[in-house]
Structure formats: structure tokens, C-alpha cells
């Protein structure tokens, strides 16, 4: 290398260009090569969340990735609905709940996952609805399972992008999510009344609509409440139509 003058501008500029090209191509190749595997991981997580919401965490915790995919394809059927409950022909796989979240409510198209009983393929075990909203720092999302009676909340899976660890991020904890199980989404008059996190933590609540809250994570908890309100309102006509 001694024949080059390393302080020459030409040398420096060519060095920079070649370096950029080399590292740029390496990164492009790596990203392309890993893309299919990454997409598979994202899909697997979605299937896992849907089944977890419907069947409970215990049933899912011992399953391998292959078993999850097999169970999903065996027991889950999807329909896509608009906010007025009308089914549309859009493919479920082409819907990105985050992109729909950015659209006005009345044009959103949302998937509904019907989870059937593994033993009896005509019996619906739960309806699973994706939900999306805002937490304190960034987006939160999840899946709500409504049992076949169309009023009991059978399970809830929540996830988040950037909530505070130990505070808002606790919405991903099993113990927190299970506080919603068995609550009801309609009140006695048949109006929508989604279960809500209450202020404070460590209390027990009577009734089917109040959930023990998250101490130190008021805004995240409110975000979950709003998310459930918004999305269950959109799924309401679909839910009513099933009865």
C-alpha cells in the first residue's frame, strides 16, 4: 500500500466510495437472505398470540413452533370485516392491523379469527379480535378472545413497542393479562362496556367490568382501556350478528 499516498484526496475519496459499496452490498445480501426467516418468525408470533388468547397461556406454553403452526391451521378460520360488521373479500394475510389503524375508522378492514374446538370442528371455541392503540411512549397492540357466548372475555394477549420496563411493560406479563379473563364486554342492557383497568393496584373488584389496575403505569393502562373501547366498538356489529 506504500505506493499510495494515504493523505491524497483522491485516495481518501476512492477509499470511502469502495468501502461504502462493499459494506452496503454485504448488508443488502444479509437482509435479503434473512428476510424469509424473519417473516416466518413474525407470522409464528401472531399465530401464537391468537391461540394463546383463545386457549390460555397454560395450553400453549409447552408447544413447539411446529405444533403451534399445525394447531393454527387446523383450528383457526378467518373472516375480514369492516366496522359495520359486513364481511369483505379481502385476504386476511394481506391485512396489516397497524396500517389499518392509521385509516379512518369507517374504512378499516379488520380480521376476525374464529378458533374452533380441536375435538369438534363445528364448535367455535372463541372469536379472537386484533386490537391496536397507543401506550405512553409508543404503540401497543394485542388480541382479545371473546368466548362462544359472545360476551365473556376468554383471554387477552398484549404487546408493546416501547413501554417502560417494570411499569407499562408489565402489560405483557401473564399475571396482568389474566386479570381480564372472565370479565364481560356487554352490560346488562346489551350495550358495549369493555372491562377497564382501574386506578391503583392490589384491589379486588366486584362485577364483570372492572380490572385491578397498574400502579405506576396509568397512561399505559388508559391506553389499553381506550384500545379495547375503540376496537370492540368496531367489532360490535360483527359480534351482534353472530348471535
Amino acid at each position: 500500500m506504500s505506493k499510495f499516498n494515504k493523505n491524497d484526496n483522491k485516495y481518501i475519496i476512492s477509499y470511502a466510495i469502495i468501502m461504502t459499496l462493499v459494506f452496503g452490498s454485504v448488508l443488502a445480501v444479509v437482509a435479503l437472505a434473512l428476510k424469509p426467516k424473519q417473516d416466518a418468525e413474525v407470522l409464528l408470533e401472531k399465530q401464537n398470540f391468537i391461540l394463546k388468547a383463545a386457549l390460555g397461556e397454560k395450553a400453549m406454553s409447552t408447544m413447539s413452533d411446529e405444533e403451534i403452526t399445525a394447531l393454527y391451521s387446523e383450528t383457526v378460520k378467518t373472516v375480514v370485516v369492516k366496522a359495520d360488521g359486513v364481511k369483505v373479500e379481502t385476504e386476511e394475510a394481506s391485512i396489516n392491523v397497524f396500517k389499518e389503524y392509521k385509516k379512518p375508522k369507517d374504512v378499516r378492514e379488520l380480521p376476525v379469527y374464529k378458533v374452533y374446538d380441536q375435538a369438534d370442528s363445528n364448535k367455535i371455541k372463541a372469536y379472537v379480535f386484533p386490537v391496536y392503540g397507543k401506550g405512553l411512549w409508543d404503540f401497543i397492540w394485542g388480541y382479545v378472545a371473546v368466548e362462544a357466548d359472545l360476551k365473556t372475555l376468554g383471554g387477552l394477549v398484549l404487546d408493546h413497542k416501547g413501554e417502560t420496563p417494570g411499569l407499562g411493560a408489565r402489560i405483557t406479563e401473564q399475571e396482568v393479562q389474566s386479570r381480564f379473563i372472565g370479565k364481560e364486554i356487554f352490560n346488562a342492557n346489551g350495550e358495549l362496556d369493555a372491562p377497564h383497568f382501574q386506578k391503583g393496584e392490589g384491589n379486588t373488584y366486584e362485577g364483570a367490568h372492572k380490572v385491578d389496575g397498574l400502579s405506576g403505569a396509568t397512561i399505559t393502562a388508559k391506553g389499553v382501556n381506550n384500545m379495547l373501547d375503540d376496537y370492540l366498538a368496531m367489532y360490535k356489529s360483527f359480534i351482534k350478528a353472530q348471535k
Binding site: M1, N7, I12, Y15, A16, M19, V26, L27, V30, G166
Partner: protein, 223 residues
């Protein structure tokens, strides 16, 4: 350049059959062992504190972070060391950054493909390895002036020095913060997690104590 003259004399030395330095000579073993204790990047040089505070809430992500930093630091050290005679001095920091950033992007993508859960947890911090002072510090202070094999050992030594400290902090934070180790409950049922340990402030306290212990043992005093 000074490094080139050294290389040339080394070539001549090889010609007169003087044995080259053994692969694990005393000097080279010290490259590995010094950063673990008396020249530790965290406790002595106080570099890489930000990630030591941020990722150590539980052992599992901490372990992955340690592996990621090891991969990035070792590879970056070797690459920079191999290129050291071609890198123009005026843009050497940019070159180092490009190498580190590319390696970090690759580690990020690989984690996303093969360890999706942990990627979700760590993605932000993985990106921040780029600015981890330990990485830039070793490239600038060591890799630019030494041969690839030495740079490899130096990278390993420093990453292990970083790793054992953050794993030690994560051990105590997870144990007292959530009563678990690697996600398994070890504290008796009904143990109420210590909130301070879950927050970065708790990590700062622990790190302070750890630095105190390590320094009083080795007798290190700031200049």
C-alpha cells in the same frame, strides 16, 4: 508510517529465522486477562456504562447482549486491524463507524431471524452497540496499531471484561428485582420484587458497589 516500518523489520526478522512470537505468549495472554480485572473496560475505564444500566434487568437479555457485543467487538477489531495500513488517517473514525454499524446491523438482523423474542426486547440496545464506547475505544486505541491476531485477543478480553460485569449486575437485579434467575423462580412464593432493582437507578447503585469492590481489591486509584 510507523506501523509499516515495524512490519518490515518483522519480515526481516523472519528471514533470519528468529522464531516469531508464540500464539499465546505471555504478552498475548495478558491481552485476554487484563481487561477482566485490572484494566476492565467498565470498572476501571468506566466505558459502556449506558448499556450496563439499560439491559441488565434480567439475565437472559443481558446474556444475549454480552454475546452480541462480543461478536461486534471481536469482528470489528479484526477487520479494522486487517485494514489498518490502508485506512486514511483523516477519515479513520468514519471507517471505524461504518465497520461497527454494519456489524451491528448484521447482528440485529440475525437476532431478528433466529431469536425473535429477545430481538424484540433488545432491538433498541443492539442499535446502541454502535455508540458503545468500549467498541470505538478498542478500535482507536488498539486495533489501529496492532496485528489482527492480537486485535482478536484484545477484542475477546474486553468483551469478556464487559460481559462478566453486566452478568453480575443482571444476576443481582433479577434475583432481588423479580425473584428469578434466567426466568425461573428462585425466591420463595410471595416474594415481592424490589422496585429499585427493576429500574436503571438500581443498576447504577449496584454498579457503584461493584466498581468499589473491584478497585479496592486491585488498589486502582484515578489519576
Amino acid at each position: 508510517m510507523s506501523t509499516e516500518t515495524i512490519e518490515k523489520t518483522n519480515d526481516k526478522v523472519v528471514e533470519v529465522k528468529k522464531p516469531s512470537e508464540p500464539l499465546f505468549s505471555k504478552k498475548r495472554r495478558q491481552l485476554l486477562s487484563n481487561p477482566l480485572d485490572e484494566d476492565n473496560p467498565i470498572t476501571i475505564q468506566v466505558l459502556g456504562i449506558c448499556s450496563a444500566l439499560a439491559v441488565t434487568v434480567a439475565l437472559k437479555p443481558t446474556f444475549v447482549m454480552a454475546v452480541a457485543v462480543t461478536a461486534v467487538l471481536v469482528l470489528a477489531n479484526v477487520v479494522i486491524s486487517a485494514l489498518r495500513n490502508t485506512i486514511p488517517n483523516r477519515i479513520r473514525i468514519i471507517v471505524q463507524l461504518v465497520v461497527v454499524a454494519s456489524l451491528v446491523a448484521i447482528v440485529d438482523q440475525v437476532l431478528k431471524a433466529y431469536s425473535y423474542d429477545i430481538w424484540k426486547e433488545l432491538s433498541v440496545f443492539i442499535g446502541l452497540i454502535i455508540t458503545n464506547c468500549i467498541v470505538m475505544g478498542r478500535l482507536e486505541a488498539f486495533a489501529l496499531g496492532n496485528k489482527p491476531w492480537d486485535a482478536f485477543l484484545d477484542g475477546l478480553g474486553n468483551s469478556f471484561g464487559y460481559a462478566w460485569i453486566i452478568l453480575a449486575i443482571a444476576f443481582f437485579r433479577e434475583l432481588f428485582g423479580s425473584g428469578k434467575l434466567f426466568g425461573f423462580q428462585v425466591m420463595p412464593d410471595g416474594y415481592i420484587g424490589n422496585g429499585v432493582m427493576m429500574s436503571p437507578a438500581g443498576a447504577c447503585l449496584l454498579l457503584g458497589v461493584l466498581i468499589w469492590i473491584v478497585r479496592s481489591r486491585s488498589g486502582y486509584v484515578e489519576d
